[in-house]
């Protein structure tokens, strides 16, 4: 059976502002933020350590994707409720697929 290596870890963590991720962090591991306080980090020692230090809660990719999708769908519902005049100046939020 072939082993599948996951290049990314998934989790939720609250962005506390300055110092939440640093220039050094960005040089050390992959980092991306998504709606729902979802973070995707490189699946390596430094990425895992960062998520732990931020009191992050590790998620499976499916769990993380569900959180993002829920946020996007809520934003889409809000957009759908806009008047035509308001909506024409704003793009409808697009679905986001996690890496």
């Amino acid at each position: 059976m072939a082993l599948i290596y996951n290049h990314f870890m998934y989790g939720t963590a609250t962005n506390t502002g300055k110092g939440f991720f640093t220039n050094e962090d960005r040089g050390n591991f992959f980092l991306r933020g998504y709606p729902g306080d979802v973070w995707v980090v490189g699946n390596n020692e430094k990425g895992a350590l960062w998520l732990a230090q931020k009191n992050g809660v590790e998620k499976t990719k499916a769990e993380a994707q569900a959180l993002v999708t829920t946020e996007v769908e809520a934003a889409q519902a809000a957009w759908d409720a806009l008047s035509d005049e308001e909506a024409k100046h704003n793009g409808r939020p697009e679905q986001i697929t996690l890496p």
């Binding site: 962005n15 220039n23 946020e71 100046h89 697009e94």
Partner: protein, 324 residues
């Protein structure tokens, strides 16, 4: 082939750890990691303090350590008049705009700025001056508009493009009145701009039609009299992107691309755009401030209005040398 010793007059140091006081370009061998290392320039985005009010479509101006965020739209509160000031680590709420609006543009510094245009809900011609503590209404634009590029300072600002429709109109502000100027070569909505006066501005990106949304990579340079489409084009076509810097040294980051939003950062050196290895942590269209080597990006849709702030810095870091 020349060796390192031939070029530098020194032999490559054999060290058990990276040196604490290396200089840019210095090369050493790290025996612990078994890698050839060097101190090289590097750029990256780090988190900054969060905005008090989540929003998109806001105006930004200033520098990385002293910036203003004004107006925009909250997904739960509608159009915003709120103003916040950044000090390099956190945002402080200041006196609100006289007119709440979104998709506005701004120019200036934290003690003397200007915001103009925007929707509330139709495109407006309103201009407000910021003196460091409050807003004062000033001369109206000739063409009410939103989603335009803004650049310059409060006494010498430029507005280019925007909507309704797809505008190529350009206006220059002298601190009290707006004067129509030569139109851009490419009409566009949501372009970005950089420049320190209304006679030396770079404008790039934006969309040229919608629907379907056609996003432009075109870059134009303004000399106070005419526009020149530069040979340089963006590597990633965007609109509602952040912009910082000057006409000859600009930074473009984030924005709406096709499809979705991008976290790409591009550097303009006066002749071409180069994609930086640095990327925003969160892809989005956003407001901006700063210069090419020290920029600030803040707000944006998340998808429902963002408090996120990111700081772009160019520094140095020890990196492993590879053959690729």
């Amino acid at each position: 082939m020349a060796t390192y010793q031939d070029i530098k007059g020194l032999r490559v140091k054999y060290l058990s750890a990276d040196p604490a006081n290396s200089v840019v370009g210095e090369v050493w061998y790290n025996s612990t990691t078994a890698t050839l290392r060097s101190l090289l320039p590097s750029a990256s985005w780090a988190s900054g303090g969060a905005l008090a009010t989540a929003r998109e479509g806001l105006a930004g101006f200033g520098i990385q350590t002293a910036a203003i965020a004004a107006g925009g739209e909250s997904p739960v509160g509608g159009l915003l008049d709120s103003t916040e000031q950044y000090d390099g680590s956190s945002w402080t709420v200041k006196t609100g705009l006289n007119n709440a609006r979104r998709a506005i543009a701004g120019a200036g510094v934290v003690t003397a700025g200007v915001v103009f245009g925007g929707f509330h809900p139709s495109p407006k011609d309103e201009t407000e001056l910021w003196d460091g503590s409050s807003w004062t209404n000033s001369g109206a634009m000739n063409t009410g508009r939103a989603s335009m590029a803004g650049a310059g300072i409060s006494t010498s600002a430029l507005a280019a493009g925007g909507q309704p429709g797809v505008l190529d109109n350009v206006e220059a502000f002298n601190g009290s009145t707006w004067t129509a100027k030569t139109a851009m070569n490419t009409a566009r909505v949501g372009p970005s701009g950089a420049g320190t006066t209304n006679t030396a501005v770079l404008v790039w990106g934006g969309y040229t039609s919608s629907p379907p949304t056609v996003i432009s990579t075109a870059t134009e340079s303004w000399n106070g009299t005419s526009w020149t489409t530069t040979p340089a084009t963006l590597n990633t076509a965007t609109y509602s992107a952040g912009g910082a810097g000057t006409q000859a040294a600009a930074l473009a980051f984030g924005g709406d691309a096709a499809p979705g939003k991008t976290n790409v950062t591009e550097v303009y050196d006066g002749s071409s755009w180069t994609t930086s290895p640095a990327t925003l942590a969160t892809a989005r269209g956003l407001a901006s401030a700063g210069i090419q080597t020290a920029a600030l990006g803040f707000g944006g849709p998340a998808p429902g209005g963002s408090t996120l702030t990111e700081e772009y810095s160019v520094g140095t870091s020890a990196q492993t040398l590879t053959t690729s």
